[in-house]
């Protein structure tokens, strides 16, 4: 099976390619990237005026299976991913059961092998049942092929547990992903603490609940010399702390979600529960700091924190509604609209944030278009405008923060492992 992608504007940060090239795919690998490849192929894609970039590596996704197949399954989640240009996913372990032992990794792998439509990598829990009481067996989990550990959704509150977790992760060279939240400081909050929580009469989530925990985890990571990744950074102080830590040589990386860099707390006015997520949308200064962090490299990656919830869990009173929004199908377009079209990032930067950097952080061989690499490739129509419609989501859940929003940039083809896995019906 051969696919030839002709005349696309190819973006590959590893090989510093930013120009018009052809790409030849043979079976599941990229065999050649060059000007004017002339060969026969089973499928020739005319990519003139299109961006051709690596498939997105989304390192923060809740696929919900096993346990909450009413919200999402590995099939629907990976199909949604392909629509959004995501070819590799890191699946978070807060499933039912939690991915906290070899047997549960086995279970998850068997579902992935049978039903996944894109590449799914596994993040296991730091503590058993994610309860923050007892560490999981990192060595055994690593032997099962997991690439990171996290209690995402919760933070490990006990320093005397988090430090050994980081030390063991260091021994096994496993990445620790930290959801930074001190629940004593955020307790009961539904939105950012400030003028908006005051106006709406909602309990607020103090920014300290995030950055004080970032500060602690950085200290512990330094002590353990471990690799730490800060999930869904939402506030200015966190960015500043990460910047200082990087300067100091602490092995820390960080991600931001498209909703956190594109929406501020005012989006919650009107009590739209699709604007309720954890961490909450913050203020305009925070948005500026997050964008600046992306530009200057303090924030390494963009990840969706795709968090599907049913309508029953969202269409209720604001404070009772679940936290979280879906993001796989909009993250590329939101990033193009908010970061590339505004001139903040160029396409090479964007490919680093969405593809290469997350792959490198996870230590997986993805995120680039070099010859010999896995053929995970996107053909993107960079100027295509579209409106986010509930009915068009492939994800089982529809809880998007971008419903009704006009975005620029759409995936035309997603090639995953050498196969045309998605073709946009409105394009091409």
């Amino acid at each position: 099976m051969k696919i030839l992608i002709k005349n696309g504007h190819v973006i590959d940060p590893v090989n510093n390619i930013d120009g018009i090239y052809d790409i030849l795919v043979e079976n599941d690998k990229i065999s050649e990237v060059a000007k004017n490849i002339t060969t026969s192929a089973d499928n020739i894609i005319d990519a003139a005026d299109k961006i051709v970039m690596p498939g997105i590596v989304d390192m923060h996704v809740h696929l919900r299976e096993p346990g909450r197949e009413d919200k999402e399954t590995i099939t629907t989640g990976t199909m949604a991913a392909l629509r959004g240009g995501v070819t590799s996913i890191l699946a978070m372990p807060n499933t039912q059961p939690a991915i906290d032992c070899a047997e549960n990794v086995e279970l998850l792998k068997s579902i992935i092998n049978k039903t996944a439509k894109a590449n799914v990598f596994i993040c296991a829990a730091i503590t058993k049942e994610r309860l923050g009481k007892e560490l999981t067996d990192i060595l055994k989990l690593k032997r099962e092929g997991i690439v990171a550990i996290s209690d995402d959704g919760s933070s490990v509150d006990n320093d005397e547990l988090m430090l050994p977790a980081l030390q063991k992760a260091k021994e096994q060279d496993i990445l620790v992903i930290s959801h930074c939240e001190d629940k004593l400081l955020s307790a009961g909050g539904a939105v950012n603490l400030g003028i908006i929580s005051t106006r709406l009469g909602l309990r607020g989530i103090a920014r300290e609940s995030e950055y004080k925990r970032v500060e602690r985890d950085l200290k512990l990571a330094e002590k353990a010399k471990a690799r730490l990744h800060i999930a869904h950074v939402s506030c200015k102080e966190s960015v500043e702390l990460i910047a200082k830590a990087k300067k100091k040589g602490i092995k820390v990386t960080a991600e931001v979600t498209p909703h956190h860099f594109s929406l501020n707390e005012e989006a919650v006015l009107g009590f739209d529960t699709n604007m309720k997520m954890n961490p909450p949308l913050r203020n305009k200064d925070d948005l500026a700091a997050l964008k600046e962090g992306l530009k200057n490299g303090i924030i390494d990656a963009i990840a969706s924190d795709h968090a599907p919830h049913t309508e029953n869990e969202k269409e209720i009173e604001f404070e009772r509604a679940e936290f979280g929004v879906i993001g796989l199908e909009t993250e590329l377009a939101v990033s193009i609209t908010e970061l590339v079209k505004t001139g903040l990032l160029d396409w090479l930067d964007l490919a680093k944030k969405l593809c290469l950097n997350p792959a490198r952080i996870l230590g997986i061989n993805k995120g680039t278009l070099g010859a010999g690499c896995d053929a995970d490739i996107l053909v993107v129509s960079p100027d295509k405008e579209w409106v986010v419609q509930k009915a068009e989501f492939v994800s089982k859940s529809k809880n998007s923060a971008f419903l009704g929003k006009k975005l620029t940039g759409a995936v035309e083809y997603t090639i995953c492992n050498g196969r045309t896995a998605y073709k946009n019906p409105d394009l091409g």
Binding site: L193, L202, F271, I316, E317, E319
Partner: protein, 317 residues
Amino acid sequence: MPGAWTRKDLLGLEDLSKEELELILATAESFKEVSTREIKKVPALRGKTVVNLFYEPSTRTRVSFEIAAKRLSADVINIASETSSVRKGETLIDTGRNIEALKVDIIVVRHNYSGAAVMLARHVRASVINAGDGWHEHPTQALLDVFTLKEKLGRIAGLNVSIVGDIAHSRVARSNIWGLTKLGAHVTVCAPQMLIPPAIEQMGVKVTNDIDEALRNADAVNVLRMQFERDEENAFPKQLEYFKNFGITKERLEKAKKDIIVMHPGPLNRGIEISSEIADGANSVILEQVTNGIAVRMAALFLVAQANENITHEDTD
């Protein structure tokens, strides 16, 4: 005369323009006289059905809405879900749609969650009047406070009004702040710091923790009920200490303007936020507030019902 009212719902005062506020007040003024007639009834809402859907215990607001609706000749049904159908599993939206299926025209909703009325209004074609949602808004209470003040002092613009008490958890405070500031009053909020919500000065008010300062130039003081019964977070100072530091007493009022208007949304905690001699004294307009509540709620019911007749409904989803 201000322009026409076009909103299907009355959910809060934050969204209203000065003109809309003035229109409700003017409408209330014309309805006030109805309650003084021998036959206290006009046919304005004859054939309309009003449901009072109360998820929180309330007597005065519920009764006030009921009387207001009846004086407009509407049929009134009271649903008290104090045991909460939430616990029985029915969502607020489902409850709202079921009520609407009974061909109800106006749902008056009181709910313990902020934003509940807003959410309900999005999902039903019936008019929704917010009778208090969580800590968010209680628009008709603020309107009756403003109405009473205007009746007493002839104007709102330029008045100094202080709101004293648990500002953080008070929907009455929030609605009063929006209503008063939009109409040109200078508003000060006064409470122990732990009961002042963050960034509230961005709502256009002054903040003080000193009761004497709050009273000094005030034309009116609105004394909020201290809800010690809801003290989940253990944030309240001891009741007596509160009275000592923030209670409205004769001694404190002697230092204030002689004709200062004293308001309270009720029910009173005598000896906690206000002394009996002030509550019952010459400066108090507390019972007039209750009377005016009927006129204001008649106006609200009338305006939303009228506006909803003129709206062409598409799917509410």
